[in-house]
Structure formats: structure tokens, C-alpha cells
Amino acid sequence: MLDKTSPMTDKKPSPKSPTDEELILYFQEGDVYAFEQIVHRYKEPLVNFIYHFLGDRSNAEDVVQETFIRVYKNKHLYRNIAKFSTWIYTIASNLAKTELRRRRRRRILSISQMGFDDKDYDLPDHVKTPEGIVDGEMKESIIREAIEKLPAKFKEVVILRDVQEFSYEEISEILDIPIGTVKSRVNRGRQRLQKKLQYLLDK
């Protein structure tokens, strides 16, 4: 818990450490070191977010790289009216969704080439492990897989809320959807996970 990767936890700026908003301001004024600090702060939480969204590390790192490049190129587009964290997460989540669409197109293409109906194409659910022998590592991989298989609109809110602990308001800003929609998607995403992972959730 101490090593939590959410940007929210390491965001109590001491007099020595500037806030994210100050850093981007310094960077806008030409301080490249400020950008390096932004990268240092955000690389891990963003890789986590995108990793869960896309389900694989190398693609996640590509998307996060691209996110930082966009920030670097478009630093002047950031205005101090928004929180920096929601701004950078918006960029990352848009890029991740683009990547997901690209994959879907590619998959449909390859399936149609193989002659399958894409409706039938779905990987079988994770082989259910009997209760009791699920160790920590296995439990994590089962949970991650379940998250990854959620429809994108549920997945993104569940990761932001339950994995990264953003507030409903922040999620609403990042995804540009009303708070009510965030709440209902979180609810539906959780219901799906609960259904899939029931055997892990009984304590």
C-alpha cells in the first residue's frame, strides 16, 4: 500500500517538491528538467492504467511513451484551469482507446481471413481454479485478466476508480462524461467482476 502507484498518494507536495501544475508551468517556460520530473512521477501510474486497459505491457509502454511525447509537443495546450493529472490521463486514455480500436479492426480482419465469424471469437474464460489453491500471484493474474476482458467503457472507470483511486469527479473530467454515468458504469463494471470472480471474493 505504501508503494501505491496512484498519483493521488504521492501528491502531497512539500515545500521542496513542486506540484504537478507548477512543474508543467516550469516546462512551459522552457525548463526541460521539470518535464523529466513529470515523467518520473507519472510513468508508473500511467503504465499501470494502460496495462490494465490493454492487457499487455509492451503496448502499454508504447501508449505511455506516446502520451509523454504528446505532453512534450503540446505543453502550451495545458491551461491551469484543469488538474494536470486529469489532463495527462485524458491524453493517455484517448490513446489507449485508439489502440484498442486499431486492435479490434486488425482482429476482425484476421478472423475474416481465417473464415471465422467474429461473434464466435472469444477466448475461453480463465480456467477456474478450485478454491483454496489460488495463491497471491495466481489471484492477481486472474483478477487482471478479468479486468482486461471487461468492455472498454466499464474497464476504464473501474481501473480509474478501484485500482487508481481517482474520485468520481476526476474520472468525469478525464473521460469527459457526466458523474452519473461514471457511477453507473462503475456499478456495472463491478457487477461483472463480482460475477466472474465470485469464488475469489468469499472470505
Binding site: M1, D3, K4, T5, G30, D31, V32, V39, K43, E44, V47, N48, Y51, R57, A60, E61, V64, Q65, F68, I69, Y72, K73, K139, E140, I143, R144, I147, V158, R161, D162, V163, E165, Y168, K183, S184, V186, N187, R190, Q191, L193, Q194, K195, L197, Q198, L200, L201, D202, K203
Partner: protein, 190 residues
């Protein structure tokens, strides 16, 4: 176990501590009567704790070096269009300068009055300076941009020098006259 659908949203909000007082009261009443929803709530709370505690995925060690490399490439690409934009403007400077100077020569030949010749020389000098200023501004701007990428900058400087010599070579035919006029301008200026 699925929760009662009319309470599912409230249960989720309750787990987030986002439920208003009235809804909370109603939900608590229901939970006392409905073991299904009570169990669901417990499972959601366990789920949330699992999700929160997922061990973080660390970016690989190459992440930052690769990113730095991409930033460097972007900086280099960014300085390229400036160079090409630089050319026409910079070529224009000597051309306009030469034009102004030849005008000056004509003035000097026609008007022998020393006072007015000084004035026209000053005018011509001002003119050629004002033409050059955008380039100076450009060069300054490229200096102040966060270009820690030295290679891009030295390339830029080399191009500037090159374009200068090229432009001079273009005007070799006039260069002797030009030198004469230039020294005259200097003399007037000081």
C-alpha cells in the same frame, strides 16, 4: 449472487461512501432484510480491496532512455522546418540589401550635398537592418527554445553560415562595388 437490481447502484455508491443520507437509510433497511444484497456488498468491498492492492506494474528500464531518444528526434525534426523557412528570408536579405545599397550609390552620385547623403545612407542602413531583424529574432528564438540537443543547434548554425556564403557567392559580380559602398557606409556611421 446477484444483488437486487434496484439496489445495485446504491450498493456500489455505498461502497464508495458516495450515498446520500436518505438513500443510505433506505439501503440499510433493505440490507437487514436481504442476505443477497448483504453478501454482494461484502464481495464488492473485497473486490475493491483486491483491486487497490494489485501489485504495480513497473515500466521497464528502457522506458526513460527510449523516451529521451524520441524527444531528441522530435527536437531535431522541429528545427528542420525552421531551416527551410529560413532560406528564402535569408536570401532576401542580401538581395534587398544590395538593392538598397545600389539605390544609395545612385543617390550619392546624383546628390552631392554631404548632409543629405548622410541622411540617405542612414536610411539605407536602417532599411537593411530592419530587413535583417526577423532573422535575428529567429536565431534568438531557436536559442531560447529548450534545445539541450546541441547537435540540432550546431547543424542550424552551420546552415545559417552556409546560406550566408551562398548568398554572397550569388552576388560576386557586384561584390567589388558593394565593398566600396559598405566601407563608405561605415565611414558615415562612425
Amino acid at each position: 449472487m446477484a444483488p437486487c437490481q434496484r439496489f445495485a447502484q446504491d450498493l456500489s455508491d455505498f461502497a464508495d461512501n458516495e450515498l446520500d443520507k436518505i438513500s443510505k437509510g433506505r439501503l440499510t433497511d433493505h440490507l437487514n432484510k436481504c442476505p443477497n444484497c448483504a453478501k454482494y456488498l461484502k464481495q464488492i468491498q473485497v473486490l475493491r480491496s483486491y483491486l487497490r492492492e494489485l501489485s504495480p506494474i513497473k515500466p521497464t528500464q528502457e522506458f526513460v532512455p527510449i523516451l529521451r531518444d524520441r524527444m531528441r528526434k522530435f527536437q531535431q525534426e522541429k528545427s528542420r522546418p525552421e531551416r527551410t523557412m529560413f532560406f528564402p528570408g535569408h536570401r532576401l536579405v542580401p538581395v534587398l540589401g544590395i538593392g538598397a545599397l545600389s539605390l544609395l550609390v545612385v543617390f550619392l552620385l546624383v546628390d552631392q550635398s554631404p548632409k543629405s547623403s548622410v541622411q540617405s545612407t542612414r536610411m539605407a542602413v536602417q532599411k537593411s537592418q530592419s530587413v535583417e531583424s526577423p532573422n535575428n529574432a529567429l536565431a534568438l528564438e531557436s536559442d531560447t527554445q529548450d534545445q539541450k540537443v546541441a547537435s540540432g543547434q550546431s547543424g542550424f548554425a552551420a546552415q545559417v553560415a552556409e546560406s550566408d556564403t551562398l548568398a554572397r557567392a550569388d552576388s560576386t559580380s557586384n561584390s567589388q562595388d558593394l565593398d566600396a559602398v559598405r566601407s563608405r557606409i561605415r565611414a558615415v556611421n562612425y
